[in-house]
Amino acid sequence: MSVTADHVIPNRSPLVAFLSRWLLTTNHKEIGTLYLLLSFTLFFIAGAMAMVIRLELFQPGIQFADPLLYNQMVTMHGLIMVFGVVMPGFVGLANWLLPMMIGAPDMALPRLNNFSFWILPFAFTLLISSLFMDGGAPNFGWTFYAPLSTTYGPPSTDFFILGIHMMGISSVLGAINIIVTIFNLRVEGMTLMKMPLFVWTWLITAFLLVMVMPVLAGAVTMMLTDRHFGTSFFAASGGGDPTLFQHIFWFFGHPEVYILILPGFGIASQIIPTFARKKLFGYHSMVYATISIAVLSFMVWGHHMFATGMPLAGELFFMYMTMLIAIPTGVKVFNWVATMWRGSMTFETPMLFAIGFVILFTIGGFSGLMLALVPADFQYHDTFFVVAHFHYVLYPGAIFCIMAAVYYWLPKWTGNMYDERLGKIHFWTAIIAVNMTFFPMHFLGLAGMPRRIVDYSLQFADFNMLTSIGAGLLGLTQVLFLYIVVKAIRGGKKATSRVWEGAEGLEWTLPSPAPIHTFEVPPNFPIVEEEYKHE
């Protein structure tokens, strides 16, 4: 950006200027960039861990990673992807886009915004450094069930707990910032039911974050006291119950997975109307469906626990509630299709990723519905069928949405169009790689392969090899994506303000690249009306 940012100390060396700008910035665009850079970096780190996993699983037997290392890779891959890639990625998008979309000059609490970001590099340095500690990194799965994580966890578990606390604080503060911004800084005339859907989904996600991250904090604190301060929350020997851990964890964990997807729903709801040149179908219905999903997400946690010896009444309750969530989710999918229907579509890269998301996320939703049926779940639970399910909703789900968002808004951020040909190559290779990696996992699970195992019996060998090849290809597509992004930042065809012919929204009234300070004077009402006609 050519305009001098706010926090650069004048007349100092370039290094000091650089550091003071990026360490002290309270600007939502710069903080958004920082979150996205962190997310992208951690994406490669957690992706490398996935490569280690798939390399070991390429053939039966132990070749590269012994069980101790393997369990650490499985655990850290999950933790970093969830807490370090998807969540910061969506927060980065929120930071960049929310103020522009609502016509605000910045977030409501800019200094808090800076603090929320800067906690994270420290939290992840702590977490990743545990790989080099005696006893290794956490090795009990990203779901860290007790007593494996309490009584039997390695010494680094306590650092893991501290890292989780730090990430939780960052998320809660960020979420508070987002809610206060959305409630208070909308431009005059933008009622709640006129907000872009990305703003709605982030508002709802932020409430989920404020409510459930503290529950996770409680769970890890109880772990800490069980480990070192003589409590027995989760140890039967002291009158506690390991199942209690699972209840508390999944009470956080299920809303958490909706936190990991709702902003993605918002992104798809911005992109598809643009490229269909047609308004989003059923705006009100989409809002209500998202709210229903969020409310229902608090009532389904037990579906992760069907094999723990839950009584029949509990199993039935959670089965019915989980099946219910399929309804509003289906409504959203139908609304996206109806948006496309009789539109006038072009298929630039953001639209490709958005359509790929709708199709493949729906497949993930189908396996989720199958998992909800308790008797069948007894055969699916803790197998690769579950791994297939959540990777479909997370990779072609959340990650595709983040990539779609990057392609969609990168011209607004940088002023340069990305290379469309390369973008399409990225998309098509990713489609092939994602399906080659994760579709066979359904069959592995059905055939009886458990999850989180370093080694497997011979009947699983062929599909594991196929999966590993797909994963290698998927890893290569990330390098291509990195190249495309870096290339676009450095230069390319100049972007207009509108960038995309069918785009609507206040951010598209701004120049590309967006100046460092925007909407310091709120946009006037006619422009708002024009951009946000939903009636």
Partner: protein, 377 residues
């Protein structure tokens, strides 16, 4: 009008073919039918939900692919401007509800039966440990450990892997056909999960708690399963093998086992009556060590960090004998070291402790006789 219909048909046909291809492919690795009434019913439920999902997928994706084809800008330059319809929203909310009820009913009926553990004929207590299972027949009042039998050489790729690689054990669980078998599961350390896909039985084994499940097996044979809850280092290495015999054969097997236990205790009496030499004890001890201890402490006693301490030059193998015996027999509360007294005989314990004190460069010269172990129990 006709061209729209023919395009619609084409789109649908392609989608259906894709769906069928997937389904055919899936049959190659479908969930198994199993050998119990319950496993068959679960397979049917699985097929029902799969078919419903495939049909819904074909319809939705078919509509999408059609639209991508027919409503692309080059073919459909003017977009329509509808963007809401209450009627449509109601329809596509209500229809899925009906479909879901259609799924929930068979699921509920099956589940109620799965959870009815009453009137069992025999009960087996299954205890999960790191990293093996223990089976106890409650009525007959005896039990035994079941460990992975696949040799280390196969895991480390020095030998070709056998057909039942990672699915074979030393002592399988033996069950009868036709009788209702009640399983009680628990654990003595972390959460494990006992799963035999052919029976469609999966139940978590939770320390300090007992859970129940049941099965009634139709067909004799050997059935294999695995631990289904991450339980530490060797989670992949604690399989389940069940040998199902006819009721008569099973009754005979029980009698044979009880007899064998009597004989073994006679053997144990003989073993502790004599004095064993260092050479005899270390030879047996090395085998015991490789079978049970090397997985954590490494076959050369070098250990793995502080989690699995080195025995070579280690504090306990070179320290007071009594403390070493107590540690091996009773395990440790704070670490993963288990109590081996229940699983190993007097001779096995005596020889492995003797071996540890005189191998890997340790040179205490101590010899432990089986009688010492017997008295320590």
């Amino acid at each position: 009008m006709t061209s729209i219909i023919s395009r619609l048909k084409r789109g649908l046909i392609i989608s259906i073919l894709l769906g069928f291809t997937n389904a055919a492919f899936a049959a190659a690795m479908d969930m198994r039918e199993g050998v119990t009434d319950m496993s068959r019913r679960i397979l049917q439920l699985h097929h029902l939900s799969l078919i419903i999902c495939v049909i819904m997928g074909v319809l939705v994706f078919g509509a999408m692919f059609y639209s991508i084809f027919a409503h692309r800008r080059s073919r459909h330059p003017k977009p329509a401007d509808f963007h809401e319809s209450l009627l449509v929203e109601i329809i596509w909310t209500a229809v899925p509800v009906v479909i879901l009820i259609g799924l929930a009913i068979p699921a509920t009926i099956t589940l109620r039966e799965i959870e009815d553990n009453s009137n069992a004929d025999i009960t087996v207590l299954i205890t999960g440990s790191q990293w093996k299972w223990h089976y106890q027949y409650l009525e007959a009042d005896f039990g035994y450990y079941s460990n992975l039998a696949t040799p280390e050489e196969q895991i480390n790729n020095f030998e070709t892997k056998g057909r039942n690689y990672l699915l074979e054990v030393d002592n399988a669980l033996v069950l009868p056909t036709n009788l209702k078998v009640r399983f009680l599961t628990t654990s003595d350390d972390v959460i494990h999960s006992w799963w035999v896909p052919d029976f469609a039985v999966k139940q978590d084994a939770i320390p300090g708690f007992i859970n129940e499940a049941w099965t009634r097996i139709d067909v004799p044979g050997i059935y294999r399963g695995q631990c289904a809850e991450l339980c530490g280092k060797d989670h992949a290495y604690m399989p389940i093998e069940v040998e199902v015999q006819s009721e008569e054969d099973f009754a005979q097997w029980i009698q044979d086992q009880l007899l064998a236990i009597e004989l073994a205790s006679g053997q144990a009496v003989a073993d502790r009556a004599r004095t064993w030499t260092m050479a005899e004890l270390t030879e047996i001890g090395q085998e015991v060590f490789v079978d049970h201890c090397a997985t954590c402490h490494e076959s050369d006693g070098s250990g793995q960090g502080s989690t699995y301490p080195a025995l070579a030059g280690g504090e306990i193998p070179n320290g007071p004998l009594q403390a070493h015996i107590e540690r091996v027999m009773n395990g440790s509360v704070d670490t993963e070291m288990q109590s081996w007294a229940p699983q190993l005989s007097d001779l096995e314990l005596a020889s492995v402790i003797t071996y540890e004190r005189n191998a890997f460069g340790n040179n205490t010269g101590d010899i432990v006789q089986p009688i010492t172990i017997y008295e320590a129990r």
